[in-house]
């Protein structure tokens, strides 16, 4: 057990290294360009050179990366080249926004897709067909198109929700709810469509297993079979779907953040990457990888909890 945890940590560390290095080197523009962008065009050539040296952009890529990594390990992600804001403080305001979207969407996805998936698998018929239809539609419309549609319908045509912006829950809980409703729905559609149909498959799969027939023959009521035995066994594959889904959401959130003007990490990544604000752009990258690793870990852990075979192995 200890060994496998250790192995896993090692593996995660290597993944973090590879991903951060890959993004770091992709974003590594030329130093003078970045310095010029920071200082503006009225700055003299000498000032630009000084800035380059000051930011350490004249050093070899590996040295810069090593430097960044060394600091990152101690929790210091550096400061923005442009605004001087520390990356951690920028993340502190932006991560909650993205996490709100992802977590809310995931919770709703789990609830809705489990209910829909089970209902479709068990009852079949029109419910099943309806689910499959919705699943296809939901999977087909990209989240940003759904988002545009929702803004049009519920913020511009009928003004129920704010079209854009994010309200922190400590300012106004109601405002927060209103501000995240449409973004969450736009993410939710695709997410539920996918998860529910996968879950339906998993439930059907378990339903076709021998022990379910035996349980029925034992006289155990149908609902007990579904909620105690089938769900538990469909949980494993379901979790895999959900963890993949979460990872997809973290990426998809960027589009929704764009349409709804939400200050999340996707926006931060987009803007700072294009600015050449390397430290700032690395922030979302690090957060994303951490989310990926954590989600994978939770997925595996929950799977282990659900699957006794995995536990004893």
């Amino acid at each position: 057990m200890m060994l496998s945890v250790l192995k896993r940590l090692l593996r995660s560390a290597v993944i973090v290294l590879i991903v951060t290095f890959a993004t770091f080197s992709l974003m590594f523009g030329n130093g003078p360009g970045i310095a010029r962008a920071i200082l503006g065009y009225q700055a003299t050539e000498g000032d630009v050179q000084r800035k380059v040296v000051q930011l350490g952009l004249d050093r070899p890529l590996l040295v810069q990366y090593g430097d960044w990594l060394g600091n990152a390990v101690t929790g210091n992600l550096g400061e923005s080249f442009f605004t001087g804001q520390t990356v951690t403080s920028a993340l502190a305001t932006r991560v909650p926004v993205t996490l709100t979207l992802v977590v809310l969407t995931m919770i709703l996805t789990i609830i809705i897709s489990v209910l829909l998936g089970v209902a479709a698998a068990v009852y079949g018929g029109w419910l099943d067909r309806a689910l499959q239809f919705v699943a296809v539609l939901g999977a087909a419309a990209p989240s940003f198109i759904i988002a545009i549609g929702l803004v049009f319908a519920f913020a511009i045509a009928v003004r129920i929700f704010p079209a854009t912006g994010y309200v922190s829950p400590d300012i106004s809980l109601g405002g927060w709810l209103l501000s995240v409703t449409l973004p969450v729905i736009s993410l939710l559609v695709g997410s539920v469509a996918n998860a529910a149909s996968q879950f339906r498959g998993a439930v059907l799969d378990v339903l076709s297993r021998d022990f379910v027939r035996t349980l029925r023959a034992r006289g155990i009521p149908g609902s007990h079979i579904i909620f105690r035995h089938v769900l538990r066994n469909a949980g494993g594959p379901g979790l895999t779907v959900l963890s993949l889904q979460t990872l997809g959401l973290v990426g998809g959130a960027i589009f929704v953040e764009l349409v709804f003007a939400l200050p999340g990490i996707g926006q931060l990544a987009n803007l700072s990457t294009q600015n050449g604000d390397v430290p700032m752009a690395m922030g979302p990258v690090v957060v994303t990888i951490i989310i990926v690793l954590v989600v994978n870990f939770i997925g595996d852990f929950a799977n282990t909890m659900l699957n006794p075979k995995a536990r004893t192995r």
């Binding site: 962008a37 605004t83 932006r94 106004s172």
Partner: protein, 509 residues
């Protein structure tokens, strides 16, 4: 990425700014939080289309510089056409040779940390500007003398007719913060102070009134909140729901804003133009021919551009200067009326009827997607094949201004002080004169501006205008309008920004 351009170009100081921000469609990341702060006179909430770029007084764009204006005082204030008035300096004097500004600092003014604002503080700031980047080239080589605690003399190595503008751009921060080189929170002597507890970098900045400010009466609001709303639709919605009280908007949302009953201040602060900087034909020989440059002027239907492309919210432009500025020639007729046939014969006359290939750089969010199709199409009529070169990434600005593309297309500022235009667009070192080619006639006229009498200077400016119009250094197309929208109860008394881009903080009543 729009933010990049915006920020970087904005950092050039006031000039080009508006076009950059205002035409942007939608990028995002802004907090449209609930307006919880009581009645409107208590709190003024403004939308920022770009985030505040930190608190380094040396690197501060004046564009939407409400935050900077709130926390720092400037040495002087400039009016809409650049005329100076008192601010931190209550008395001032510019030397006859236009090299030295002598300022008397108002007595008894203190920074918000309690330290006095004196000549030493101003000296520290001025010297910092010269090396801090930002506008360092504009302050390069200055010397500062402090004869006494309240008097400061700033001298430029060469004559500088834009001394007043430099004084107005200055942001006086505490010498301690400058010495430290770290600017996490601004400390100044401005009308407001930053309330860091109610500030979230990147989204909301809250300022509370500094009652000891010398001109406190000009700033009626107890609190100013700046919200970063990079998407224009976000801004419009925030305005409609009173989450903010004012924001810049563009033609894209003009109708929506009008229909929502927002008050709209029209701003006409720039000119859409092609800048033909290779007058000598070094890179593209054809451009060395004045006939070719004139032909390029003749293929655009300026009325149609204003009427159709800008949806009527623009007027055709025949010159690059702002109406009412010194260089503006009020009665100028269209020197190059729309006439493709004549353009063709001019090309033939110049020996370039087969045309040439022209690379025009474009960037996201500059409205190029609106202009480029028409421009490419019209230039193609005289066999000029336009290749659009999209620029991106941190090097975009460097590339744009590097001279690699001798004919940029841009909407650029036309200032209340036309000297700034002349300096930026026509002088050899002008940043937008990207080919940086010297011209004897311009040098001669500039010399007059530096040394001549008041009347001679004005005349020289008009002569510059005539000369560059005749030589067809530009292809001016339109003066597009932009708008500042405010909600009921917030009044914009006037737009006193000399670059005409937006109201200043003191304009909100």
């Amino acid at each position: 990425m729009r933010r990049t351009r915006r920020r970087a170009l904005v950092a050039l100081a006031a000039p080009l700014a508006l076009s950059l921000a205002a035409l942007t469609g939608c990028t995002s990341g802004g907090q449209a939080g609930g307006n919880t702060g009581g009645n409107a006179k208590d709190t003024l909430t403004l939308g920022l289309t770009a985030d505040i770029q930190g608190w380094d007084p040396g690197v501060q764009p004046t564009y939407q510089g409400w935050g900077a204006d709130a926390v720092w005082d400037s040495l002087l204030r400039c009016g809409p056409t650049g005329e100076p008035s008192a601010s931190l300096a209550d008395k001032w004097e510019f030397s006859q040779d236009q090299r030295t500004a002598t300022l008397h600092i108002r007595e008894g003014v203190k920074f918000s940390d309690g330290t006095p604002v004196d000549s030493a503080a101003v000296k520290a700031n001025a010297e910092y500007y010269a090396t801090a980047g930002g506008a360092s080239s504009r302050w390069a080589g200055i010397t500062v003398e402090t004869p006494d605690a309240q008097t400061v003399k700033i001298s430029w190595p060469a004559a500088n007719p834009l001394l007043a503008l430099r004084m107005c751009e200055s942001k006086i921060a505490t010498p301690a913060s400058i010495a430290e080189g770290k600017f996490e929170a601004p400390i100044g002597s401005g009308p407001y102070t930053l309330d860091t507890s109610a500030t979230t970098g990147g989204s909301v900045y809250t300022f509370v009134k500094n009652d000891s400010f010398w001109d406190s009466a000009s700033f009626p609001y107890k609190k100013v909140v700046l919200k970063v709303l990079e998407s224009e639709t976000a801004s419009i919605n925030a305005l409609k729901t009173q989450q903010i009280n004012g924001s810049l908007i563009t033609t894209a949302t003009y109708e929506e804003a009008k229909a929502s009953g927002l008050a709209l201040e029209t701003l006409k602060a720039n000119t859409t133009r092609l800048l033909i900087t290779d007058h000598l034909g070094e890179k593209i020989p054809a451009l060395g021919s004045v006939d070719v440059r004139r032909a390029m002027n003749m293929v655009f239907d300026k009325d149609a551009i204003a009427e159709k492309l800008y949806l009527g919210r623009a007027t055709p432009a025949y010159q690059i200067f702002r109406e009412g500025s010194n260089a503006y020639i009020a009665d100028m007729k269209d020197p190059y009326p729309f006439n493709v046939d004549e353009a063709k014969s001019l090309m033939a006359k110049a020996g370039f009827s087969d045309g040439f290939t022209l690379q025009i750089p474009t960037m996201q969010g500059q409205g190029h997607e609106k202009l480029m199709p028409y421009i490419s199409q019209q230039l193609a009529l005289i066999n000029i094949k336009v290749e659009e070169v999209p620029l991106s990434g941190p090097n975009a600005i460097s590339e744009l201004l590097s001279g690699k593309f001798p004919v940029p297309l841009w909407q650029l500022g036309n200032y209340g002080e036309s000297l700034q235009d002349i300096s930026d667009y026509t002088l050899k070192d002008g940043i937008w004169n990207v080919s940086h080619q010297a011209d004897a006639k311009i040098d001669e006229l500039w010399n007059t501006i530096l040394t001549g009498t008041e009347a001679e200077r004005k005349q020289a400016q008009q002569d510059v205008n005539r000369y560059i119009t005749d030589q067809a250094w530009f292809v001016p197309m339109a003066y597009p309008e932009h708008f500042y929208a405010t909600t009921a109860g917030v009044e914009v008394s006037q737009v006193s920004d000399f670059s005409g881009l937006h109201p200043l903080l003191r304009d909100f009543k």
